[in-house]
């Protein structure tokens, strides 16, 4: 079986409204993060991949299967939609159990897998309660449990961290990481980039229905090498350091850190920048604690490529 998710020149229009346009992608196993502002077409891309909407043109293949063939596709794919909606009056247990029955499991297996998935998201104690009485985070968790319950090969998660408190978010990220490490194919869309990009093998940047960039974060960063890069320097005299660095042409922006013990400097020539920084450190005028790239993550790349208006809302 082909282990890639392939989009070949895929377009989707909702009447006259553009969903996505001419998307060509090949996504290997591992964790892939789909990044883009609201309305960029992330959910459309996920719905196309899961066959919930049909492309206006182009071809999609999920591990060799066509999304048109729902019975086959959903045997290997788990989908966690972003919408906070459930069948009425259902308990957490029923939600997972019914889902597994629809996946064609026997009753005994469905019971076993329901217990496993509920424990996986730490909802075992609340399984008998109606979902309507769950907190937003619990509802998010039960959706995640439903998506992984049937042991899919591909997991598509639309905004899976929305509404989760920091603890639950950390647990979910750990779960994604574990599943990705084990060889599952995870496609995650999220606005909380600073957390998701740490575990992502690849990022796909999308804006206005168009694919902007794709690859590992480093690869994508490389693609935008000519763009200024931001570095955070923790030091005792950030204002002095900023003034010194600004005296050279390649330094285009300086911003003091909120705690006053550091400065963000943006440069167009990173080699020159580091060379000059060494000189200043050698002079001993400024005591530097640390120097670190401040934007070698999806969020920053996203800002570069899509513009600050499409921020990480």
């Amino acid at each position: 079986m082909n282990d890639q998710i392939i989009f070949e020149n895929v377009s989707k229009f909702y009447g006259e409204v553009l969903g996505v346009n001419r998307i060509s992608l090949s996504i290997p196993p591992g964790i892939t993060t789909l990044v883009g502002p609201n309305g960029s077409g992330k959910t459309t891309l996920m719905n196309l991949m899961t066959g919930l909407v049909q492309p206006s043109s182009g071809r999609i293949s999920v591990m060799g299967l066509s999304p048109v063939n729902a019975p086959e596709l959903f045997c290997i794919l788990g989908y966690c939609a972003q919408f906070d909606s459930f069948p009425r009056g259902i308990t957490g247990w029923q939600f997972i159990f019914d889902s597994l029955m629809l996946h064609g499991m026997s009753e005994a297996e469905a019971v076993e897998l329901t217990i496993e998935s509920l424990e996986r998201v730490q909802l075992g104690d609340a399984a008998g309660r109606k979902i309507a009485g769950y907190s937003k985070g619990m509802r998010q968790k039960v959706r995640l449990a439903q998506a992984v319950a049937h042991h899919p090969r591909v997991l598509v998660l639309d905004e899976p961290l929305n509404g989760l408190d920091p603890m639950a978010r950390a647990e979910s990220i750990a779960l994604f990481q574990e599943l990705g490490r084990q060889g599952m194919h995870l496609l995650i869309s999220s606005h909380i980039l600073d957390e998701v990009d740490r575990i992502s093998d690849r990022v796909v940047l999308i804006a206005g229905g168009y694919l902007v960039a794709e690859g590992s974060i480093q690869q994508v960063r490389h693609e935008v090498q000519e763009k200024p890069m931001q570095v955070l320097i923790r030091c005792d005299r950030p204002a002095l350091l900023a003034a010194k660095m600004f005296s050279v042409n390649h330094c285009v922006e300086a911003r003091l850190h909120a705690d006053g013990k550091g400065v963000f400097l943006r440069t167009g020539d990173i080699d020159q920048f580091y060379s000059m920084l060494n000189g200043i450190a050698a002079e001993g005028l400024v005591k530097m604690e640390s120097v670190a790239p401040a934007d070698d993550d999806a969020s920053a790349i996203y800002q570069y490529l899509i513009g600050s208006s499409g921020g990480t809302s």
Partner: protein, 291 residues
């Protein structure tokens, strides 16, 4: 890449055939339909007429009981096609009431709660989803339509001293066929109307309206254009004519209002196609919100 060890094992155990999963939805639909106390109340009401007809059959076949009731005339209680036609009609209109209550529960809730994307993110098609709901509704309606009718037919066959059943097999076949046609039509109509009305109470009213409003329009067409074909919009009239012919009962409509059976069947089939198109348009997992 974070894939260090491919120890993850996707599920590769046995699964049930795809067609059987329709029955999972049907089972849950059935449970949903009968979880309401109003459904139980309506069901109880639906069983009252068969009890009355049961007493009628008992009295017609038991001279002692008739004597105890004050010497009722056995000719006054003829158990024939007309007797069962009345039963069939009564049960059929109760079935409409039950449909108008149950059908919205099966579809409207899923639509109103935006639960379709979740349900359709399973190895089941849109057709399978609708079929599951249809089976749930058909099963619910069967309990109050052809099942009690045929049970009463069987009781009459058992009670009658004459070889009554053999001589009246058309009644049994007519009861079964007439009720199956009616509940199949009601089910698809109920689901189609429910899929377009998100508010359950309004959906209940809309189902009644879908049956009776065209009848009014048909009456106007018949009156203004002086044509019998206006009755093709009159579902109660058409169904009564069809039931009478299926059971072999005398027809109540005047000769100049006679509708050919083919025209009635064609109208019902056309209505079913329209309902199927309505369902096809609405039962989708499409989400208009773009992320």
């Amino acid at each position: 890449m974070s894939v260090y060890k491919h120890i993850y094992r996707a599920y590769d155990g046995k699964v049930t055939p795809v067609w059987t999963r329709v029955f999972v939805l049907a089972r849950y639909g059935f449970a949903e339909a009968w979880s309401s106390k109003i459904t139980i109340g309506l069901f109880t009401l639906c069983l009252l007429p068969p009890i009355v007809f049961l007493i009628g059959i008992y009295l017609a076949n038991n001279s002692i009981a008739r004597a105890l009731m004050g010497g009722l005339d056995p000719q006054g209680l003829p158990i024939n096609a007309r007797f069962f036609l009345i039963l069939l009609e009564v049960q059929s209109w109760f079935a409409l009431a039950l449909t108008s209550w149950i059908a919205p529960r099966l579809i409207t809730f899923d639509l109103a709660d935006n639960a379709l994307p979740i349900l359709l993110s399973h190895p089941i098609s849109r057709f399978g989803y609708v079929l599951g709901k249809l089976i749930a509704l058909l099963a619910s309606l069967s309990v109050v339509t052809w099942t009690p009718c045929l049970l009463l037919f069987a009781y009459q066959s058992y009670s009658s001293p004459l070889p009554w059943a053999a001589a009246n097999l058309q009644i049994a076949a007519g009861l079964l066929a007439g009720e199956l046609i009616w509940i199949a039509f009601l089910s698809i109509l109920g689901l189609a109307v429910s899929s377009w009305v998100k508010w359950r109470v309004a959906a209940t009213g809309a189902i009644f309206a879908a049956v009776f409003v065209p009848a009014g329009v048909g009456g106007i067409v018949t009156g203004v254009l002086r044509t019998k074909w206006g009755f093709l919009l009159n579902i109660p009239f058409m169904m009564t004519s069809l039931w009478q012919r299926l059971l072999g009962a005398p027809e109540s409509a005047r000769a100049n209002f006679y509708l050919p059976t083919g025209a009635i069947v064609a109208t019902l089939v056309l209505a079913c196609f329209i309902c199927a198109a309505m369902l096809n348009a609405r039962i989708r997992a499409r989400e208009v919100v773009r992320g």
